[in-house]
Structure formats: structure tokens, C-alpha cells
Amino acid sequence: MFQVRIHGRGGQGVVTGAEMLSVAAFLEGKHSQAFPSFGSERMGAPVVAFCRISDHEIRLREPVMEPDALIVQDPTLLHQVDLFSGLSKSGFILVNSGKSFAELGLESLLHTHPINRLATLPATEIALKHIGRPLPNAALLGGFSALSGEIGIDALLEAIGDKFRGKTGMDNKDAANAAFHLVQEKMRHAATA
């Protein structure tokens, strides 16, 4: 079972991100389960959502406490919330930021985690460019696909298209695709560096 935890703030599409990830996994024929951290959701408040992906039926109903991957939609949470709780040393970390891990004050992660499991991505900028609104979830999922390989970009684009119809759907797919290629390029660069 592969477990993802998405951290962000109310209004950034955290819950929708987990939902689209679960739909993408479903489209790939896997079992998946997505659910929000249960609370009074309001704009700007820290929000967590979870997604489990498995080849078998998922019966577990606890929150994801030992994630295999962490997606951070809002970098202002980095030093406020215990984001990295339970994350394994081989876990993936994707942060929505144009800065590097060192610039974000997270250089310690570079020593504890394999370099090919870490990436930052300017997802809000990508979203503004393609969607015109600061909604980074689709871009982050595209980046997550490239970083982890846990979900295919094709299934992801289909899931995004299921959720958002028409132009909004196209724009979100463009954002995801752009992010996918950007992270893929970054990983290639990191591997040869």
C-alpha cells in the first residue's frame, strides 16, 4: 500500500487534490481511498487530506500517519505544522515553492532523504499561468507523478478532466502536464549532477 498525505490551506483544493489522485489510481485499476482530515474547513486554515493506493481492498480507516509521500501545497506551513510526522526516510517530498530545499530552511532533509525523492515545484506560478488562479493542486499532482512514478500522467490527466469540465479542465490538465515535465527535467538534471 502506498500512502500520500497532502498539506495545504483551506481554499487551495487540498481535498480535491486527494480525490483526483484517488480517481487516477482507480482508472489505473487499483484500489484507492481518499479522505480529508475531518474538521471545520475554512479558507486559510491548515487542511490535510489523505490518499491510499493499493492492489488490494483498503479496509484501514485511520488517518495516514506514516506516509510514503508528502505533498506540501503551501510552503508557509513548513515551520508551523508537524508536516514530516511519520514520513519514512525513503519517503517522497514535493513542496510547492520556486525555492530550493536549502533556501526553504530544509537543508536537513537533503541529508536524511535520497535526492531523487525530493523536489520543489513552483505550482502556484504554474497554476496562475495556465488557470489564472492560485490553485496549485493539479500542478502538484503532475509533479508528484513525475517524482514518484506511483501514478501515470495519463490517468492523472483523465482524472483531472473528470473533475473539471470544459476550459477549466483543459487549463488544469495543462498545469499538471507542465509541472510533470518540469519535475521530470529536474529529476533528470539531479541524476546527472
Binding site: Q33, A34, F38, A45
Partner: protein
């Protein structure tokens, strides 16, 4: 068709397949997406011949359902938490009048303190109202139970609550098989009422009954529930034959073979319990579990038959009978009377506290060592409790408990579980 859906939306699709003629709801918290989705389906015409009535309160929601059902319409509503309490009087009336309304409870806690999260306090508060209560383990089962609920309700002319864990199920996306319309039509024929307000054949419904026959009318309600003990397995097996999957029934045993310790629970926590049992079985522990689907009527004989060879029973409950223990334990203990089997009540998951594998594993190991009390509280933070008891001892005017406790623990926004 297999789909990845939010629990509430899937349940709404299941309800629509049952072709309700009246859906009424009070649309604000504590409500789920179920009625929102049904309202959309009525508006678009996807759910035809159905009137969606937006009412002014939960009391009105069930009162309208009572009127609609008495007029011969297949009627549905949904609520939870304080909303269910607000309709309490109508809950008893629907059962007392014998009207086959189906209502979803998206289970949530009851305040005070204010809390919007999941536990079973709401439906448990209505356990003796005369409704049948079925508890779903997964969203697939939740959808399936609604289809069975209409059949059961109408066969008996008795209302049915389908209890679905709020958030944990209602807000979770998972794969769900949406049944074929033709199968549902064949399984659930149109509603044929045993009593109906009909201008051409007038009757009155809702007589005043004095001491001369009140007990008899109530006893007949009880007889209906006893009849439900026979009907529920029949309907579940007819469902399984047509839809090719098992859902519902009275109880669901899991790995009971040679089990010395058996865990009994209601609803979605059975999934996590099964994962823990598999893990412990792999390490040689003789563990099993029994999910209770039908809490009202309570299947005393089936529970006894499932548990009778165990050494000890752990009853996990998401509801606290303040001053006594847990309502599920009352039924389980009654079913075990005379056997001498030890029963341990464990109150867990109140107000949305996560029930984790780790906590369950520790709990079950303690149970095996016979270290549990009659009544236990899972993951109770004694520092918080004792801090408040200290404050109360020190000062007469120690202030409001909830506020004191929150002050003492500081912000919790950063916690995962």
C-alpha cells in the same frame, strides 16, 4: 458500474435507484452531500416523479416524511447529530405510526461540547425509538443497505435508519459498484402501503390510545422487530443472489475459527479491526471479530452463537452511556448471559478521535493478558483529565470544563491524528 466516488454521492445514487417519491431535508450542518446530490438529480430530472422538499428544520424534515409516507409515497430523509435530536419527537412518531421511512444517519457526535466529528452518539440516542438500525462498514455496504432498507421497511411497515459513519465514510472516496437499474427494480417493487390516507377510502392515522391498549400497540412494534430478525437475513441473501456480493445481514463474523478473543463493533471501524486481526493472526494470536449490522433489532441468538466458544469479548463502542458504559455492550452481554465469558467494554473514537491500528493492537494484547477492566477508554489522556480534576479541587469557581481543557492543551491544529 464500478466508480470511484465519494460515499455520500454513491449513497445518493443508491437512493435514486430506489425511486423515492418524496425526499425532504434541512440543508445545513449537520447535513451530508447525500441530499445535495439528490436535489440535483430531482432538478435535472434524472430522478423523476420525486418531489424534493427543502424544509425549515430537521423536525419539519421528518414530519414531512411522515405525512408523505402516510399519503402512500416512498419517503426518504437524512440527518445527523443535533439534527437527529431536533427531530426526536417525530422519530418516535414515525415508528409508532408504523411508517416505512428510510433515513440515513451520517453518524456524528452530540454536543456539548460542540463537535462536528464522527461517533455513534446520535443514532444511539434514538436506539429505543422503534426504528430498525443498520450500520454500514464500507460505502459499498452503505449503498447496498439503503436498497435493502426500503425493502425491509415496506415489508414490515416500519422505519429504518441506515447508519453511516460521518466523514470516515460519507466524505471518503472509494471504489463503489453502482447497481444496475433493472436489478434494483426487480429487487424492490413499487411501494404497496399497508395503511394510506386515501380520499376514496378514508381512514385516520394517529389515534390516541389509553391504558386499555397502549401496551398492546407497543408490543406489536416489538413483534415487528422480531419479525425483522427473520427478514433481514432473507433480504440480504436475496440481495446477494441478485447483485453477486454480500452486504448486510444481522452480523458478519471474521476469522472466528478457534478465536479466544473476539472483538465486537459497529460500522466502519470494523475495517481497521480486520487489518489488526490479520496482523495478529499472522503472529499466532487467536483473534477474530464480529461486526454487528443490525443493532435494532439486536440479534441476541446470532451474537451468542458467534461468541460462545471465545474466552473473552472486547466490545468497541463509539458511544458512551454516561454513568454506565456502552449501549452495544448491553446487548452483547445479554446475549452471553449464563456463559461466564468475560466482556470488556472499550469506548473509542469519541468526537472523531482516530481509532488507530497501533492503539487497537496494544488494546487487544492487553485483552489477551486479561489486563482490561469491565469499562475502558481507548487513548484517554489522563493528564488532561487529572489537570481538570486538580483545578476543580483547588478552586470552587474553576470555570467551564471544555474551555479549561482547551487552554491546558494549547493549539492542536498541527496534529495529524
Amino acid at each position: 458500474m464500478l466508480q470511484q466516488l465519494e460515499g455520500s454521492r454513491a449513497i445518493a445514487q443508491g437512493i435514486a435507484l430506489c425511486k423515492p417519491e418524496v425526499v425532504c431535508a434541512y440543508p445545513i450542518t449537520p447535513q451530508t452531500h447525500i441530499v445535495e446530490a439528490l436535489a440535483e438529480m430531482v432538478r435535472t430530472g434524472e430522478l423523476a416523479n420525486c418531489e424534493f422538499i427543502n424544509v425549515e428544520s430537521e423536525f419539519a424534515a421528518l414530519s414531512v416524511a411522515i405525512g408523505a409516507s402516510a399519503a402512500g409515497a416512498r419517503s426518504y430523509t437524512a440527518t445527523a447529530s443535533q439534527g437527529l435530536l431536533y427531530m426526536c419527537e417525530a422519530v418516535y412518531n414515525a415508528a409508532g405510526l408504523g411508517l416505512p421511512i428510510v433515513m440515513t444517519i451520517g453518524n456524528r457526535a452530540i454536543g456539548a461540547p460542540i463537535n462536528i466529528w464522527n461517533d455513534h452518539s446520535d443514532s444511539m440516542a434514538m436506539r429505543d425509538a422503534g426504528w430498525i438500525q443498520l450500520y454500514a462498514e464500507t460505502n459499498q455496504e452503505a449503498l447496498d443497505l439503503h436498497i435493502q432498507a426500503f425493502k425491509l421497511a415496506e415489508a414490515l411497515s416500519c422505519p429504518v435508519m441506515v447508519c453511516v459513519d460521518g466523514f470516515i465514510l460519507t466524505h471518503a472516496y472509494e471504489r463503489i459498484e453502482i447497481p444496475d437499474k433493472r436489478d434494483v427494480d426487480a429487487f424492490l417493487p413499487p411501494y404497496d402501503p399497508v395503511q394510506v390516507l386515501d380520499c376514496n377510502d378514508p381512514v385516520s392515522i394517529g389515534a390516541m390510545v389509553g391504558p386499555e391498549a397502549f401496551a398492546e400497540v407497543k408490543y406489536l412494534q416489538h413483534r415487528k422487530q422480531l419479525r425483522a430478525l427473520e427478514l433481514i437475513p432473507e433480504i440480504a441473501s436475496a440481495f446477494s443472489a441478485r447483485f453477486k456480493r454480500d452486504s448486510g445481514g444481522l452480523v458478519k463474523p471474521y476469522r472466528l475459527e478457534d478465536a479466544e478473543t473476539i472483538v465486537v463493533a459497529l460500522g466502519s471501524m470494523n475495517g481497521t479491526i480486520k487489518d489488526v486481526i490479520d496482523e495478529m493472526r499472522n503472529e499466532g494470536h487467536a483473534m477474530g471479530s464480529l461486526a454487528i449490522v443490525s443493532f435494532r433489532p439486536f440479534p441476541l441468538d446470532e451474537v451468542r452463537a458467534a461468541l460462545v466458544d471465545a474466552k473473552r469479548i472486547v466490545i468497541l463502542e463509539k458511544s458512551l452511556s454516561v454513568g454506565l458504559g456502552g449501549p452495544l455492550s448491553d446487548g452483547v452481554r445479554k446475549s452471553l448471559s449464563g456463559t461466564g465469558i468475560k466482556g470488556h467494554t472499550v469506548i473509542a473514537g469519541l468526537g472523531g478521535r482516530a481509532i488507530t491500528r497501533k492503539s487497537l493492537m496494544d488494546l487487544f494484547v492487553k485483552a489477551e493478558k486479561d489486563e482490561l477492566e469491565l469499562l475502558n477508554f481507548l487513548d484517554l489522556d489522563l493528564d488532561i483529565v487529572n489537570g481538570q480534576l486538580e483545578r476543580e479541587k483547588e478552586t470552587r469557581r474553576s470555570g467551564p470544563v471544555a474551555e479549561n481543557v482547551l487552554k491546558s492543551i494549547g493549539t492542536v491544529a498541527s496534529r495529524i491524528a
